[in-house]
Amino acid sequence: MTTTAEPTARELGRARIRKEDARLITGRTRWTDNITLNGMLHIAMVRSPVAHARITGINVDAAKQLTGVVAVYSGTDLDAEQSAIPCAWPINAEATPPRHVSIAVDTVRFAGEIVAVVVARDAATAKDATELVEVDYDDLPPVLDMEEALGDATVIHPDFGSNKWVTFPFDSVAAGATTGPTADEAIAAAEADPDSIVVKRRWRQQRLIPAFMEPRSVVVDPTGEQLTMWSSTQVPHVLRTMLGVSLGLPEHKLRVIAPDVGGGFGGKLQVTPEEILSTLVARRMAKPVKWTETRSESMLSGHHGRDQIQDVTVAAKRDGTVTALKIELTADMGAYFGLFTPAVPVFGAFIGPAIYKFPSYAFVCTDVFTNKTPTDAYRGAGRPEATFAVERIMEELATELGRDPLELREQNWIKNTEFPFTNAGGLTYDSGNYEAATEKATALFDYAGLRREQEERRRSNDPVQLGIGVSVFTEMCGLAPSRLLGALGAGAGGWEHAAIRMLPTGKVEVVTGSSAHGQGHETAWSQIVADRLGVPFEDVEVLHGDTQVSPKGMDTYGSRSLPVGGTAVVKCADRVIEKATKVAAHLLEAAEGDIEFQAGRFSVKGTDKGVSIQEVVFATFLSHNFPEGIEPSLDSEYTFDPENFSFPHGTHLAAMEVDTETGRVSIRKYVCVDDVGSVVNPLIVEGQVHGGLAQGIAQALFEEANYDEQGTLVNGTFVDYTLPSAADLPSFTTDRTETPATSNPLGVKGVGEAGTIASTPAIVNGVLDAIRHLGVKQVEMPCTAQRVWRAIQDAQGGAK
């Protein structure tokens, strides 16, 4: 009996134009802010302009008197109902997160925190009324610097007694991932050993703003039997459950819809104060309400990303063999925890050893509160930080030892023949081929030729110097095996759900719990199903993002959709085929074992007798002539829980030019060869890599959220946040190797974050490689022209 179809290879691997693009690009679709309901009221938020203060009085009288204003609420009005924003992954069972209020009651802890809610008949009036709300603040000292926060600074959450929340430690020996010595012992031994070297560096992961294209928006309709929320969110399913838990609403009385969502990058992986407050106001008013943020509001109050101090130590033998890695992080949580705040830096702990065979490894993260916007997931979430730490320290080690950076990496990386391999972080990498990706990348890059040119420019003292930046990375995708999440204290599993409905006319509806916000699920899932069932691509419709249509799901983040959600779809398709085979056998009057399925057709082995899958579906719909004891339906469901993460890897090479007269940095050439396993749609993969590179390069060269000493975000608009555009980036040379993952039937690994994770250290390594001979040892990110110029000036002793 054949119950699993052989893929026909017609659809998998095909570079299809995305079917969702026309509506997304033209905007002729349903975004949350387009939704208008009868009697709908509009909400605008009054936000604190100060970072840390006691609220001594709020006067809403003038605002209430404005024509069109329906209500104005302060924190005192809503506190009894507002509960707290949930933290789903507190990483430490002993510590309790501080209460994260949606609206401040007596104290504000970051500039941008909501202090009053205005409800009006139209959005303009609501906005006007926010300016009439008078709030009196009694300033408290703002705590803005992580290290000062850990000293004798004012305590932001007095109940905790300190601005340190917890320290999360990981030790490879204690975890049983290595047998010893510990990293501390190995580093101490190396310091005492003349044949060893210890390199220790400190770097800053600056604060970044996710800057998704569509600002956040929420519509809540309390008038139906279910309370319905539309939200521009990555996580409608998580949001439904969390709203229910937080506000004590029965889950079955809640429906959450993420209509088309214009990007997220982790910034919409959240349960927001605005979602909670919109729900509370809608319930009080018994009318639909809408809140839509402005761009400035988004940049100020939506969660931020990164913001760590990294102290990284590597120990190695003088021959280049690494003996220990230690990563110590101080991580800025901001003023409160969002959904995954404390888990984000820790997510990097396990991938810290990266592609290398470190015999000893330690990681420790200290979580610190400051009077800034909370941090949380941002594209890569923990892995860009970890990858930066390891790929920068390997570069520093190569420099100290006078070795070629690629050669030193190869000496220490896991060889293709050594997979599966358990790293010192306890992760088992199922597959990989760092040699193949590196060989392809160096050839495309002309590594030897550019090294010669670099030498030549140094010799001729060219004002424009050339540097080569290397990053050979791996990361973990496919979030995540549920038992692992459980062991790490997460409040949810890591499975994904899918369903397939075979419609009477032979068309197919695919329901997925993975909620797309720009990734192209509708195209990729259609390709998988068309391939598996042998139906035309156009005959498949993918439904998602509505808890009534797709009732089960864990949503989209952590490059999980294809490895986990895609696998659930494959399993569903296989179940359809398994059921349909029985029906086909009955229709063909043959034994089930004699039926084979290929390219959408069930046939009797060795004969020309057969039926199409569409005929089987229609026969099932009629059920006039149906096998006994079989349910008359071909529909199927599957919930897939992965057994392991997947581990994309790749080799990224950046040729960086530095104009030593001005400090300007430009990318002369960027080559990356990524191994994301098998590829469903190369065009989508390409798009993800390009976008990912842009975001990782942006961290290296362009972006940083800056606060002044009062705790005000000073560059919270696109005029001064300097998000790069296409004009700031080169034409990337991207290529692939394909080493299939063994942890899922598609062999896919995930691609959503790879470019972001890999590119940041490649760029910074390249900048330093261009000017290290001038005496420059470090340039903080973003490597702006001024910083680079100053680093050169300082290294040259201030001489011009």
């Binding site: 300016e131 608009t717 001024q786």
Partner: protein, 283 residues
Amino acid sequence: MIPAKFDYVRPSTVEEAVSALQQGGEDAKVLAGGQSLLPVLRLRLAAPSLVVDLGGLAELRQIGEDGDMIAIGAMAAHHDVMRNELVQRHVALLGQATETVADRQVRHRGTLGGALAHADPAGDLGPVALALDAEFVIAGSGGSRTVPASEFFVDYFTTAIGENEILTQVRFPKYTGWGSHYEKFNRTAQAWSMVAVAAALKIDGGTISEARVGLANMSSTPVRATGVEQALVGQAATADAVRAAAEHATEGTDAPSDADAAADYREHLARVLTGRAVLAAAG
């Protein structure tokens, strides 16, 4: 965009516009291409009681030759300025600088007059107008007056345009056959200049006979680098001579410090970029 409430008029003649401004009082604002006004309205950094939209004044979009001058209507869009044949032939520097203004969308909406009247010291067109001795035609209730560029820029976002006046035209002398270059330095391709240098040269037989150099974002107004101009005249256009002249670039400047660039870095950039702009202008 939800700005504070304002009244709005769209006059069809310059006279109507001036009288609307007069009636609107000190809280009236002129809207040209909207590329500066709309963002401040959106951020509620400005809350005018009246917005006078000049979009209906078709006569202010004309670009033409007027004797020895090229006369450009204040409402000519950047895109139309940089594509104009007269501009390209006689005022090439203006076209080159205009091409670097923000992005394509902004260049189709934004106007020459709007940008100059806004007088952001980081703006690209101020140093060009200053270096090229442009004239500004300003209409008020008593008719029109003409102000030379050297008197037009007064301070940050402040010009010689009076409260109830409108900039109607900008006139440039012809620099036919001159070499020119606009050297812009910014954080991202579409950002404001950290420093920019506008340079135009007349070269006779390998010797620089006349030079015009203007700087953006080196003071509260655009700055004319007269020290550089004087040092260049009579010199051969060699790298050494140009670099020596460029050392004068910071004379008379008062460079601001901000998150992108401290004053000393701006001064350094001004010297380096002046050298580059002049060399490029020399071809």
